[in-house]
């Protein structure tokens, strides 16, 4: 199996890559930090990956995703699964005050990711097979004061993925958005990570890996977030707006 991981240094991406490595996959790891990518590549090889390659690039700064994707696929000799896992949390307060920070959060998490999704989806459709999993977030299900710029970008991604899934319906390829709840990764390093709702990257990775093979176009990780978000989405605004969540 040939797998491309965009944003391979993210905690969830690395945990997912370990599952692929155990299956004996060929992996192409894409990200900005050469040294960290190399460390992951060595580890994955020892854990059973048939081959690991590294591509150092700033995914958010890509101007021609189709061309760059073609290069990745050529290096790997084809592709079966793609995972888009890069993203930034950003700073909500700063985004409120400074349009540049808001634009950064939106550009990295939505604009650039959308370009990659469209390029990959087109490729999968023309091949008639393969799967793409995109990391969204429960933050995209309803805007909350703590992180609505980030949430809006992730909501946009989810809508894009659902639309592509609609286009793919009844055809060979599959596309899934996985929406994790709060997860213990480098992205959340500055937060107080207490309580039963926090998941480990390994727990989320199991959902991500399974989503590439089966299930609907939207998967929550862990599963219970589907029900929590169902309630939160249907709370009437007068009630929701009084909640400290």
């Amino acid at each position: 199996m040939r797998v491309i991981i965009l944003g391979a240094t993210s905690g969830i991406a690395e945990a997912t890559a370990r599952l692929y490595a155990k299956e004996g996959a060929d992996l192409l790891l894409v990200g900005r930090q050469a040294e960290r990518l190399a460390a992951i590549a060595t580890d994955l090889k020892a854990r059973g990956a048939i081959s690991t390659q590294v591509a150092v690039t700033d995914l958010a700064a890509t101007t021609d995703a189709r061309q760059e994707l073609a290069g990745f696929i050529e290096r790997l000799g084809g592709v079966d699964h793609v995972l888009i896992a890069y993203g930034i949390l950003g700073d909500q307060d700063q985004a409120w005050a400074d349009p540049a920070e808001a634009a950064r959060i939106l550009t990295v998490n939505f604009n650039s990711a959308a370009a990659w999704i469209l390029a990959i989806a087109d490729r999968l459709e023309r091949k008639g097979r393969g799967s793409l999993v995109v990391l969204g977030s429960v933050a995209g299900d309803r805007g909350r004061r703590a992180n609505f710029v980030y949430g809006a970008a992730k909501a946009g991604l989810a809508t894009l993925v659902e639309g592509v899934a609609h286009r793919f319906a009844g055809k060979g390829p599959r596309i899934v958005v996985v929406k994790p709840g709060p997860t213990v990764t480098a992205m959340t390093a500055g937060m107080v990570r207490k309580g039963p709702l926090w998941a480990s990257a390994e727990q989320v990775a199991l959902v991500v890996r399974r989503a590439a093979d089966r299930g609907g176009p939207v998967a929550y990780a862990p599963w219970f977030w589907r029900y929590i978000m169902l309630i939160i989405r249907f709370l009437p605004a007068p009630i929701f707006n009084r909640l400290e969540i």
Partner: protein, 444 residues
């Protein structure tokens, strides 16, 4: 934004000590120097934390900072041909086994749980059921990376002449942050163990079996019914095993078994229930005695089958007590300890007895020394329990033995100093900004 967060969820494995810490969990080694600087900038001390299987106070740094190393769990280099593995300190022994067993390799030394990190295993210089043959894990360390709070990185190996390597093996994490470790692995033909259980009636039986088995078996250990008294004092089950010559090389996967969901209420653990448990365990072991071929997991890690088994001891937690006494006085000292326990009626669920061999560790503060080691756990019943432990302390001290800091939560400083005569040489290598509750209590 600070990378450290205040948390009160860090407990010792014995759950007697609960404390608040500033904690950070890095994902990359390149973050460590910055975290060390941040942790120590306002005069706080820092301590590396692994999977938290230390029973007492060696893994805690209340009021100070801890760096949770479990996010640093990558393999840096692995060559099945030369049997050398280099990995980040936060990788667990269980995860290492998953990678190496399919290659026909095994850990040269493993403690009774696989949920310990490589860094923690080195910092405590762990031993296993094969101490008589292989010594401690420290003897198999080919190199390690140590980051000191002054920002210097030290590449240390057995050829080190500064003493820092010797201080770090078994140094309880006090000499700096262990960033990575390189160990030598051993070859196995299969993932199965040929195991044998032999019941014995008293301590003499144990010593006979121990001396008769040490040559022919890689692994030996015994379970003692420590509530038995009179003629059956020291009765138990002797367990011995070796790697099977043939069979599959399948690693045990980390599938979680049942977990202890809550703290058991204290009244469940009383003398009668512990007595019943010991009798039942002994009866079951006798019934199933003889030889069998089993996967390595139940042989080495019987307690790993129950997640959070430490919660069995209720909210007040438990004390673990592990001593080693020199061989010449081992029989008398062990008998005296078992008598004291039987008289106090405060049994331990399972007492573990094993003979250490004479393979010396490179570590200055390594716990094992030639002799007999007895490990016990006691539900925490406050003063009553502490009085019994103090009685055991005096037997160990008189025998010229020592206690295992990783297991204990209350070693008297005097007993620590008499047990570890090299402690002052060790103290000279302790990083000035690294500390633990244990180290402060030792008055160092």
């Amino acid at each position: 934004m600070s990378r450290f967060q205040e948390t009160d969820s860090i407990l010792s494995w014995g759950r007697v000590v609960r404390a608040s810490h500033m904690a950070a969990r890095p994902a990359w080694r390149d973050e460590l120097p910055g975290l060390l600087t941040e942790a120590t900038s306002d005069g706080r001390s820092v301590l590396a934390l692994g999977l938290g299987r230390s029973y007492g106070e060696t893994g805690l740094n209340p009021g100070g900072a801890v760096i949770d190393m479990t996010g640093l769990d990558r393999i840096i280099a692995f060559d099945p041909e030369s049997r050398i593995l280099r990995a980040e300190a936060g990788l667990s022994l269980g995860a290492i086994l998953e990678v190496i067993v399919p290659h026909g390799l095994f850990l040269p030394v493993t403690p009774g749980t696989r949920f310990v990190t490589l860094g923690g295993a080195v910092a405590n210089d762990v031993h296993g059921k094969n101490h008589h043959a292989h010594g401690t894990l420290g003897r198999w360390v080919r190199g390690l990376g140590l980051l000191r709070s002054d920002g210097t990185r030290h590449l240390l190996g057995p050829d080190d002449t500064t003493g820092l390597f010797a201080a770090t093996i078994g140094g309880l994490g006090l000499t700096g942050l262990i960033e990575w470790v390189e160990i030598e692995l051993i070859q196995i033909a299969s993932a199965m163990i040929d195991a044998e259980t032999v019941p014995f009636e008293g301590l003499d039986g144990f010593f006979e079996l121990a001396s008769e088995s040490s040559e022919a078996f890689d692994y030996t250990v015994s379970w003692i019914d420590c509530l038995a008294s009179g003629p059956s004092l020291g009765r138990g089950l002797f367990s011995r095993g070796r790697h099977s010559p043939a069979g599959p090389l399948r690693a045990a996967m980390g599938a979680p078994g049942p977990s202890m969901p809550i703290d058991l209420p204290g009244f469940v653990l009383n003398a009668a229930s512990i007595r019943a448990f010991n009798a039942l365990y002994l009866w079951n072991g006798r019934r199933r005695s003889g030889t069998s071929r089993m996967p390595y997991t139940p042989f080495f890690y019987p307690l790993d089958a129950i997640g959070n088994w430490n919660r069995m001891y209720g909210r007040r937690g438990m004390y673990q007590y592990q001593s080693v006494v020199p061989l010449a006085v081992a029989a008398d000292a062990t008998r005296a300890m078992l008598q004291a326990i039987a008289e106090a009626g405060q049994g331990s669920f399972l007492a573990v007895l094993k003979t250490f061999g004479d393979k010396a560790s490179p570590g200055l503060m390594s716990f094992p020394q030639p002799g007999t080691t007895l490990a016990l756990d006691f539900p925490n019943r406050g003063d009553e329990t502490l009085r019994l432990l103090a009685r055991l302390d005096s037997i160990v001290a008189e025998a010229g033995g020592r206690l295992y800091p990783a297991k204990d939560g209350r070693i008297p400083p005097a007993l620590f100093r008499s047990g570890y005569p090299d402690w002052e040489r060790f103290a000279a290598h302790v990083d000035p900004h690294v500390s633990s509750l244990f180290w402060r209590r030792m008055g160092a």
